[in-house]
């Protein structure tokens, strides 16, 4: 699967000028409100006809302003999940789910039973949309899009209208969707926590332009990315494997950074996890720290020190086979004389385990 998007569109007071590719997995379009993410996904879906541009899916042009080709939405074979679930109020949940089936020309890739059990909506089938909670509605909307047998799923902030409890109710379903179906997903969001948990590829948008794009792990350890995310959100994302559990309740993980210890979790050895290490949770020391309460201390080498607008600097480190970002004050960086190739120790204060891969 590959999606290739080139768009140029002029709105009153705003210009969209975008180019990116998406491969299998979850491609997250990340950016602030008003950065043009929804316009991009609408152009892919065929709901917005851009002034110029080309959208290609698996070698087939969905639209191409040069040749004048324009497939209407109902011929594109893309499932769209909107922020507001937009269930048909006059149909039952079951009828909503099977709506797209009437028009699908693709083979049976996924059955109603599969979708119902994937999304846990078996009890809702005979209810009407008016009687569902926000989280339930959104799960049905996802199921409805899936059952239209799309070549690709488009999701426009599918969790934005939900409270935190509902979000954490749906996120595991989205992870299962990514891991258990082969359907690629284009996911629009302005919430870094969702993106860090779900995305395989990250496309960062600002003011109608793509400012950065690439594999999530690589981008998240790039100091350049921090300029777009803000210091609070900056942090590396690392894939890890559970090695085992210790008697004192800690879980040992193997990661490209090295071995890590996290508070015990119910996971089998061999299970894949995704870790997020915020840059502000990483401290640096020139000598191997003794008498420190932190458990995870890794030998590292400084790759670069980048200065932002504030009093802080971001230090990019090479640790094991991966990269890690540390956020420290400029004063500390000066007194430690940090610079490229300097050997340091990274003290990781906390590791967030964001999902099971």
């Amino acid at each position: 699967m590959s999606l290739s998007v080139t768009l140029h569109h002029r709105f009153p007071g705003f210009t969209l000028d975008v180019e990116f590719q998406a491969q299998t997995g979850v491609t997250a379009l990340f950016g602030r409100s008003g950065s043009g993410k929804t316009s991009v996904i609408n152009a892919v879906a065929g709901l917005l006809r851009p002034d110029r541009g080309r959208v290609t899916l698996d070698g087939q042009d969905l639209s191409n302003s040069k040749t004048g080709r324009w497939l209407p939405p109902h011929h594109r074979g893309l499932g769209y999940v909107f922020q507001d679930s937009r269930l048909f109020p006059h149909l039952s949940v079951r009828q909503n789910l099977t709506y797209g089936r009437w028009f699908s020309r693709h083979s049976d890739r996924i059955s109603l039973d599969d979708v119902v059990s994937l999304l846990g909506i078996g009890d809702l089938l005979d209810r009407r949309p008016g009687a569902l909670s926000g989280g339930e509605k959104q799960r049905v909307a996802i199921g409805r899009a899936l059952l239209s047998r799309p070549r690709m799923l488009l999701m426009d902030e599918p969790l934005a209208a939900l409270d935190d409890a509902r979000k954490s109710e749906i996120l595991p379903y989205l992870e299962r969707l990514r891991d258990q179906t082969q359907i690629p997903i284009l996911y629009v969001s302005h919430a870094m926590s969702e993106v860090a948990r779900l995305a395989t590829t990250l496309v960062i948008m600002q003011d109608g332009k793509v400012v950065q794009a690439g594999p999530l792990g690589q981008l998240m350890s790039d100091p350049e990315t921090a300029r777009h995310l803000g210091m609070q959100e900056t942090g590396s994302v690392v894939e890890a494997t559970v090695e085992g559990h210790d008697d004192d309740g800690l879980t040992r993980l193997a990661s490209p950074l090295g071995h890590l210890l996290v508070p015990g979790m119910a996971a089998q050895p061999g299970q894949r996890l995704r870790l997020r290490i915020h840059a502000q949770d990483v401290m640096l020391s020139l000598s191997p720290p003794k008498d420190v309460s932190a458990l995870n201390i890794l030998a590292a080498k400084v790759l670069s020190v980048s200065r932002g607008a504030g009093p802080d600097v971001l230090v990019q480190l090479s640790v094991g086979q991966d990269h890690l970002l540390a956020r420290i004050t400029a004063r500390s960086a000066a007194s430690l004389q940090l610079g490229p190739d300097r050997a340091v120790y990274a003290i990781i204060k906390s590791v967030a385990v964001t999902r099971k891969a």
Binding site: F88, H90, W102
Partner: protein, 234 residues
């Protein structure tokens, strides 16, 4: 004097004719009403204001003027009427079918208005979703728009029926007031009031008119509420 429900044959004929005229006027104009309402609510095209004006004209013109225009156009020597007579042997002037045409045209603006409001109340986002799920324009209309505007269609139809039942000016101008042929309920009431001793017959017809109007209102309320409940998804 002794006849069905205490009505004389002439009175009964007027009631039956009115019901028939109104029913036909409503049923035949309904698809056009939905189509025009959809065009006005959802489409942008050249001449949209002109169409809007034409549809609403009978609401503003004196009914007699509308009837006269119909007579000019659809009379036997009118351009449309002459053509219909020549090609298919259809004559509208001074027939009950003409009364139905007059009633339909007079009721059309009310019907279109009610349906148009219902269409405008349908969230276009729902139609958009149906498109992304693979439905083309016609299917979107049939499976999403139409079920959602059903209460509006029912309301528009009953409003049009009630208007057709009461239509007088255009009807009497276009098809005259021939007992048994074109004498509708209002024309009959008018005629009875013109002759001495006709007040009794007029009063009976008035009561029937009131009764029919009440029944229509109650039925429309009930149908509308039932459909609305079904659509609300409860």
């Amino acid at each position: 004097m002794d006849s069905t429900f205490g009505l004389t044959p002439q009175e009964w004929q007027a009631v039956a004719l009115s019901l028939r005229v109104s029913l036909w006027a409503t049923v035949v104009s309904l698809p056009f009403g939905v189509a025009v309402a959809y065009l006005l609510a959802r489409r942008q095209f050249w001449g949209k204001q002109l169409l809007n004006g034409l549809v609403h004209l009978p609401l503003i013109l004196p009914p007699v003027v509308t009837g006269y225009i119909l007579l000019m156009g659809f009379g036997r020597r009118g351009p449309v009427g002459g053509f219909l007579d020549d090609c298919c042997g259809i004559v509208l002037a001074f027939r009950w079918t003409g009364a139905a045409l007059a009633a339909a045209i007079m009721a059309f603006p009310l019907m279109v208005r009610a349906i148009r409001l219902a269409i405008e109340a349908v969230d276009p986002k729902l139609e958009q979703v149906a498109g992304t799920l693979g439905a083309n324009g016609a299917w979107v209309f049939l499976t999403v728009t139409l079920p959602l505007i059903l209460p509006g269609i029912v309301a528009g139809a009953i409003l049009a029926f009630a208007k057709a039942m009461g239509e007088f000016g255009a009807t009497i101008t276009f098809v005259s007031n021939i007992p048994g042929q074109t004498q509708t309920l209002p024309s009959a009431i008018y005629s009875f009031l013109q002759v001495p001793g006709g007040e009794g017959a007029a009063l009976r017809l008035v009561l029937i008119a009131v009764g029919i109007a009440m029944v229509a209102l109650v039925v429309s309320e009930w149908v509308g509420r039932t459909i609305a409940r079904r659509i609300a998804g409860i």
